[in-house]
Symmetry: C2
Subunit: 435 residues, 2 copies
Amino acid sequence: MVKFDYDGCGSFVSDEEQQRYVQTALKAYDLLMAGDGAGSDFLGWKTLPSDVPESLIEECEAVRDDWKAKGVDLVLVIGIGGSYLGSKCAIEALSHSFIRPEGVPQIVFAGQNLSEEYLSEVLDLAKIRNVACVVISKSGTTTEPAVAFRIIKNYIEETYGEKEASERIVAVTDARRGALKTLAERKGYRSFVVPDNVGGRFSVLTPVGLLPIVLAGFDVRQMLEGAAEMQKYLSLDRSEFNPAVLYASIRNLLYAEKGFSTEILVCYTPKLQYLGEWWKQLFGESEGKEGKGIFPASVVCTTDLHSMGQFIQDGSRNLFETVVSVEKSNRDLTVFPDGQNYDELNYLAGQHVEHCNAMAQLGTSMAHIEGGVPQMVLSIERINERNLGSLFYFFEFSCGISAYMLGVNPFNQPGVETYKHKMFALLKKPGYESI
Amino acid sequence: MVKFDYDGCGSFVSDEEQQRYVQTALKAYDLLMAGDGAGSDFLGWKTLPSDVPESLIEECEAVRDDWKAKGVDLVLVIGIGGSYLGSKCAIEALSHSFIRPEGVPQIVFAGQNLSEEYLSEVLDLAKIRNVACVVISKSGTTTEPAVAFRIIKNYIEETYGEKEASERIVAVTDARRGALKTLAERKGYRSFVVPDNVGGRFSVLTPVGLLPIVLAGFDVRQMLEGAAEMQKYLSLDRSEFNPAVLYASIRNLLYAEKGFSTEILVCYTPKLQYLGEWWKQLFGESEGKEGKGIFPASVVCTTDLHSMGQFIQDGSRNLFETVVSVEKSNRDLTVFPDGQNYDELNYLAGQHVEHCNAMAQLGTSMAHIEGGVPQMVLSIERINERNLGSLFYFFEFSCGISAYMLGVNPFNQPGVETYKHKMFALLKKPGYESI
């Protein structure tokens, strides 16, 4: 499923230190399992993999099939933060980089910024396509998605008429209250529920993530199975061998005792670029508070070995790496021999491109560890729905343990309000007169 | 052109400290201008904006026109690191996010990774399109681009025949020697020169960057003019008011005296996402050596306010920000009034979306500074070729000063070789038997 290897930390931490941190981690584990730590109103994600009913998946598929029958070839998914990154990550990981399969709509995200240019370009695209929209917002009043949805809803209503528009818009929102819930009821939109006890960054296995992933043509049953398997594994093994306990232990040890203040999530495929973004929100927002937290960064290799590689190898020594390693490629391409061999690559003739990638990864690991960068490795066999589900759950669970170890509430984000208050005052929103 | 504002650092540094660092920066400035600092064989970038001859641009345009006449609708640009990020940055900043103008080829990058899946998908796309290729490599033997080029060259030759292939492949490489130069001569490829005295991360205004940007349909004359204007401005003003001197001074002061170890490049438009990537290579590879250097990170707002925002506001206090601010949108879209106002946005009715974005930026700046994050702001009027040229030159010049202040050679990257040596040994490349 997911293999965890921390040999690359051996020269940086002693067994005694590790044991000490594992003991603290096990206390945090108990807190998380018992549900009596800080933020315990937001532990719904813990049992999501086994809680999601088959009927919910069928409802997602019904939307997919209805829109397919209408010939929809563009779905605008409106959301920001946790209502964006989970599905973006899964869809980028699973999709062909350039070609969309017949019968599957293009997924384009909107409402994840306030760029006038970007939103104008989304409308340009909408105007030449057959469009539907998923709007994801618990409240319906978060500025970015609300602005985008007001504009896109208007476009869809004007183009297809009010009645047809109500069949082309689906809301993912609060079960009972809020602006979007009210609007959805009044307009007759189908809606899906964002559970009260799951925070945004933990919501990829709710309809927030599942619906867009289904619409993009992927198998969320497999994703939930992978997550459920990981849920079972992590929740049954209260020991020093639990990989989430180990991951949380070692990263806190490196941070608190050894001066490593930045963690880089590393992958060796561009498909996982947005796993890095999703992970940065998960850990950054959960742990970055009260003047504490490991700064989360990410790189995609080997691309970034030619940009950030120099710094990681030889710059300030306050970095450690967590590599998400993919053992097998889903495609098949080899380097063939060339008579002239001007490029001196014949020594690779007959090798898979991915073999070169794997050796680059191995060589880089050795070089970085020698250079003073501790390294942990999480391996999956290949990129697919199942393994992504496992990874999502692994990181969520680890994050809960890790933030409890740090002594912060993993499930709030008080700092996010600060800029909003000032922005509202500057925008002269009623009720926000003072900056 | 570019405005520089460091008011957001006022509460973190004293005038006396700033003056002291400015004096050091002016010494570094002198070293850079005189060309007698470390790495002075690689100062060709300093005068590139005024050195690039009109004939070079015309040669780029001739390639563009020839390929247009052949109906080419896909140009594969093969390169990594500095042979990738400059043109990627400019093309992403200037292009429509979703729609390609009639008569302009799609630009797809390859050879910037060793992913078997990615390269297979590039070939899938090539097979349904009319293809040409630019291969960028000084030596022709860098593993990633060499592997990609061997495979893509073979595809083009098999599809179009040897003779036609030689008209569909252009090399950007060394003037005299190397594998790619040899191949280009033998096959009769048109070639462009990577100057000996310009390192990869400083090469965006050489054919390495200019040719792909021309092929993507943009005006490099404007880009060079913007850079030349900045060159003139920065090289004539040896004073404490020179913005490159100030930027280099303050970032070194924050790093060396105040414990700020990470700099985040912030922009408020997804168009500049790859400016962050280009900047990370420029500063990370120039400064990250000998156990020193400010760790370069980047965020795109407001997107990342909903992921990294919590950490920046309230996490570990070792971050400072440099914002690249864009004053005007190139498009026009306003929030309109809505009778029901369920989303409570009517207070924004009649406002440009970009006004909301600007207020988010201003509010965030205030919040982050209050939260303990020093901030500098570089402003451009709008995103266009001219202003990108100015930004490129500004950052390159600042980087030279800044790295000299740090006491390192800005123009080498010895750490990049370490992983390569191990990778070659693991791949059993002749001559690299020991790890």
